[in-house]
Symmetry: none
Subunit: 190 residues, 4 copies
């Protein structure tokens, strides 16, 4: 009988876990990533600091857990009539995500932190929300008969997502719907 026995001692409090995730979510929007501190999170969540440190090693880790599911959901696009409308819908969703969504704010903060913190970079390398969403759209486009010429999906992901991400994250600009439509058309025209 390999019955998995419950670990000894008082079990982890689900209440505390949710309170922390919720606090991080709220604080990111209200105060921003830089102003968020482990101490502040614990106090806001009504939780001991040790409890936070026991289960997460950094605010980045909490933020990732708090926003990953939302991010994936917000980047999922309903299947459409044709490849171009689907790709356009994805680019619209991506723009909204990066410029208006709370989860997108978290993603930007984490991606930013990853540029000068090895730990965060490794943490992020475990998940690839943008890439996963992009791959889904590319797969759907292929099912519609598009993109037959290019077999390298990774390259396609970068070409689909890269220009828009660069525009928003590095140039600080955004994009109109018509621009996104043109971008989608160009992407499929290969």
């Amino acid at each position: 009988m390999t019955e998995r026995t419950r670990p000894l001692g008082r079990p982890r409090s689900e209440d505390a876990r949710l309170a922390v995730l919720r606090a991080v979510d709220d604080m990111l929007v209200e105060e921003g990533y830089a102003a968020m501190t482990m101490k502040g999170i614990a106090e806001r969540a009504g939780v001991g600091r040790q409890t936070v440190y026991r289960w997460w090693s950094s605010k980045a880790e909490i933020l990732l857990e708090a926003s990953a599911a939302d991010a994936a959901r917000e980047l999922t696009v309903r299947s459409g009539a044709d490849a171009e409308s689907e790709v356009t819908a994805f680019l619209v969703a991506l723009t909204t995500f990066l410029t208006r969504s709370d989860a997108g704010l978290a993603y930007r903060a984490l991606l930013g932190e990853a540029q000068h913190d090895r730990k965060v970079a490794e943490l992020l390398s475990g998940t690839d929300v943008l890439g996963d969403a992009a791959r889904a759209v590319i797969g759907s486009a292929r099912a519609h008969g598009a993109l037959a010429a290019e077999p390298d999906t990774d390259a396609l992901v970068a070409e689909l997502v890269g220009p828009l991400v660069y525009r928003i994250l590095a140039e600080g600009r955004t994009a109109e719907r018509t621009e996104l439509q043109r971008m989608a058309a160009r992407f499929l025209a290969r």
Copy 2:
């Protein structure tokens, strides 16, 4: 007599300024952006802390001044025989810059910080090293007769630079020369 008279008192010490810039350069490589502190910079430079605060308001500002010139130089590409070789050379330079250069490390740190720090974002919006370099290459390509179909230079910049930047910064990968060549070819094939 509108000659602007020199301000009173002891003039700013060029020695101190250079010592600070040098210290920031070295510390970024040796210790990383996060471990770099204003206090540490001052001590390393053998300079009073007030002197640092008097001339720069944050480590991001110092870092920008310390690395901007290097960045521009490293991203400048010699004119080549044809558009494709020039674009390829630029992508190679960009890859080296982002993955191996000290100035590139500074750029990544600053771009990262800009994602969760409004001040840094504004600071960076004043300069656009990647964009400027890309525009130069695009102009040269046009002089070679390429890219006639697309008049929107900003869109071209994002399409040239975005995929590679995304690949390196968000996916943490790099790119081989052959891959960069294909990327250049695809970019010009419109």
Copy 3:
């Protein structure tokens, strides 16, 4: 049948009790009173923390229980030929107790804690190891015909014990045997 019935439920574990007392004894010597913590005691004794808190309310209480018997034993003096040799023997025992014995170390720690902790002061007021031992010696001296002039035993206790205790606890000095002999002689010369 007024036989007091055993309380319901699992009875107190004698093993646990002894393990805690033993742990406190050892830790006092090895790490000192200040470094001793309730958490540490429980771990050292291999006992749950709740078990410790269930039976004792502070480390002072445990320490008192762990050392009281030893202290009384160490301060008991064999009856001797005359009053002076008995008193001297007591002063020697007291010196050894305060400067070398583990139980004496516990006594000093408790007496010290009592100076700034009301609870510990009350705890200690219940027992008077030094006083009891001194009273026994004084009684014996009286039986030998000494100290007839002074009927106030409490005053005698303080005069017998006080100077030596002060010397050791407040001045941090100790006392040679010849000094103790002189002290005993002076004490009896009244």
Copy 4:
């Protein structure tokens, strides 16, 4: 020219020093030694924590500095008509000091802490308020022609001070004036 030059940098703030000493004085009386924390002291004094740690290494050290002068003053006895009245006055002062004075409260806390903290013990060994005061009284008694028989001043100090200190600190009792008079008489009767 051995002109002693002032140390570099901003000089120590006398305001901060006094605020800390004052805070410790007040807190000892209001909250007690055990409840006093370095954090609390800093906050009460309106001073940064680092500033406290910069100049004192423990609350015991601050307390000593804050109370030493008061203690010495309170234990100083005006010269009287004869030795007995002087010694009695000293014992009264000592009783008041140990049972009612703020400085005495500090002395008891420090002496207590010294029993289980080596650092505090060493700290206290540098000063000997009780001993110094006792020595002064004994000197004065000798000037009055008393105590000629006993040349060992240290022993006299212990015999003068020890019984009363023991009575108050270890037995938690106090002493009436008549009792102190008898004690003084006995002390001088040798």
